[in-house]
């Protein structure tokens, strides 16, 4: 039996998926703009940020409406709580994409290949994009085994982050006149690592929604 509430919850899931697609798009473009010093592409990301914010507010409103009008309980309540938080995590990812685009918009030329090649920015962003896509599917299908995989993927990002900081540090030592640009690059690396953490938070919300297990601050339960 499909209830009116089921219809609303399905709609909420679809909206989260759309929000996720928007954020993936923003993130991909922001990194492209950053790697290629493409100012126009960076501006496009900065402009589209308004859409991400608008979508976030819409999903917040829809969550509130479901709470008020349907008084959901049990798995339905957990789904709404999870959607509310996932929405917020996705919006934060959008903010990071905007931050990367802001750095890109100020670049006059691309970073040196000898720096970008070992940093593997493009590969890492593809990895992050896979994580977001996997999380979105896991949320839609209530699939906690896929959500748990995210924690493993995040470990790879943490390792990459450490290596990237070493690469940037080494480069600074040999190119002391480029410190400002290197600090911006380190900031972009940091933002990507944070996006990985946000993906982990989303995975925790999916597990809470499906299994009623709270994993926050409980790494050993993962």
């Amino acid at each position: 039996m499909t209830t009116h509430l089921d219809t609303e919850l399905d709609r909420l899931k679809n909206e989260i998926e759309e929000m996720g697609s928007l954020v993936r798009n923003q993130l991909g473009k922001s990194i492209d703009a950053f790697i290629g010093a493409k100012k126009e592409l960076a501006k496009e990301v900065l402009f589209q940020e308004r859409r991400v914010n608008a979508e976030e507010l819409k999903i917040d409103r829809d969550c509130e409406n479901i709470m008020v009008l349907f008084n959901p309980v049990a798995i339905d309540l957990r789904l709404v709580f999870a959607a509310f938080k996932i929405n917020s995590h996705l919006e934060r990812m959008g903010d990071h994409a905007k931050g990367i685009a802001a750095y890109a918009s100020k670049l006059t030329k691309p970073y040196a290949a000898e720096l970008l090649t070992p940093l593997q920015l493009r590969e890492i962003v593809d990895h992050i994009d896979d994580m977001i896509a996997s999380n979105l599917r896991a949320f839609k299908d209530a699939d906690t085994s896929s959500a748990r995989e995210i924690f493993r993927h995040d470990d790879r990002l943490d390792e990459w982050n450490k290596k990237a900081i070493t690469v940037i540090g080494d480069y600074i030592r040999n190119h002391t006149d480029e410190v400002e640009g290197m600090l911006n690059l380190a900031s972009v690396v940091r933002k990507m690592e944070r996006i990985g953490d946000l993906n982990k938070n989303i995975a925790e919300e999916i597990i809470f929604y499906v299994e009623a297990n709270v994993l926050k601050h409980e790494k050993e339960k993962i």
Partner: protein, 250 residues
């Protein structure tokens, strides 16, 4: 020790098996909500504790029903004694066609109490406990039937409290009331749980969630799940419970 308890209780209305092996214990000063679809046995279960099912023709009860550890269905227990200890409030307010004062004093009088001062003090205390005193203290001689539905229901609660029971059974006590009166009954339940053990049958899931410490879900005469209310409404263990409370039953 549980305040009220059932052990392997089966109840039959003729050939209908209305309660099936129900074992459940309720601690003193707990509020327990009974939920489930119509005909699931929750009201039948409630009426075990003041032996109201006894009045139904063809009823047969097996198992043990304990009040403060004592089986209330064994031969030595008088129904009148049980009903002094176990008060009941019904879905529809049922005040007697008497004054407000006499409604509350009724239980005392039929128990042979005639001390005027004691009766007056008990009526005042009971009406205060039922959060009705401030609204009726100047018109105690007015007919109870002139009160609003919500006031009548609180009067019935005061009447139940006057004989100092230790357990109060409530069968849909707020379902016939407007939201404000219903909220007053819920507030009252919160106050009363300091001194009484309360078992409430309700169809209103939000009400069950708000007022109770524990919730029992019945289906087709079986106790499917009995758990802390927060846990039952956040993470029910049984699929049937989840389907019922989320409105996907059947």
């Amino acid at each position: 020790m549980y305040k009220v308890e059932t052990r392997d209780v089966n109840l039959f209305y003729g050939n209908t098996h209305a309660l099936k092996n129900v074992t459940m214990g309720i601690l003193e000063y707990q509020v327990v909500a009974m939920i489930g679809p119509s005909g699931c046995g929750k009201s039948t279960y409630l009426r075990l504790f003041n032996r109201m099912n006894d009045m139904i023709d063809g009823v047969r009860i097996e198992g043990e029903v304990l009040l403060s550890g004592k089986d209330i269905y064994n031969g030595g227990t008088r129904v009148e004694e049980i009903r002094k200890k176990v008060g009941m409030v019904f879905q529809k307010p049922n005040p007697f066609p008497k004054t407000i004062f006499e409604n509350v004093a009724y239980g005392l009088r039929i128990n042979g109490i005639s001390n005027k001062k004691f009766i007056e003090e008990t009526v005042e205390r009971s009406l205060k406990q039922a959060a009705l005193w401030d609204e009726v203290k100047d018109e105690l001689k007015k007919s109870a039937l002139a009160l609003s539905g919500g006031q009548q229901q609180r009067l019935c609660i005061a009447r139940a409290l006057a004989v100092e029971p230790s357990v109060i059974l409530m069968d849909e006590p707020a379902s016939a009331l407007d939201p404000i009166s219903s909220a007053k009954i819920e507030e009252l339940i919160w106050e009363l749980k300091k001194k009484y053990t309360i078992i409430i049958v309700t169809h209103n899931m939000q009400q069950a969630a708000r007022v109770s410490d524990k919730t029992a879900f019945f289906y087709l005469g079986e106790l499917i799940e009995f758990n802390d209310t927060k846990e039952l409404f956040m993470n029910p263990k049984h699929e049937r419970t989840q389907n019922y409370i989320t409105g996907r039953f059947g």
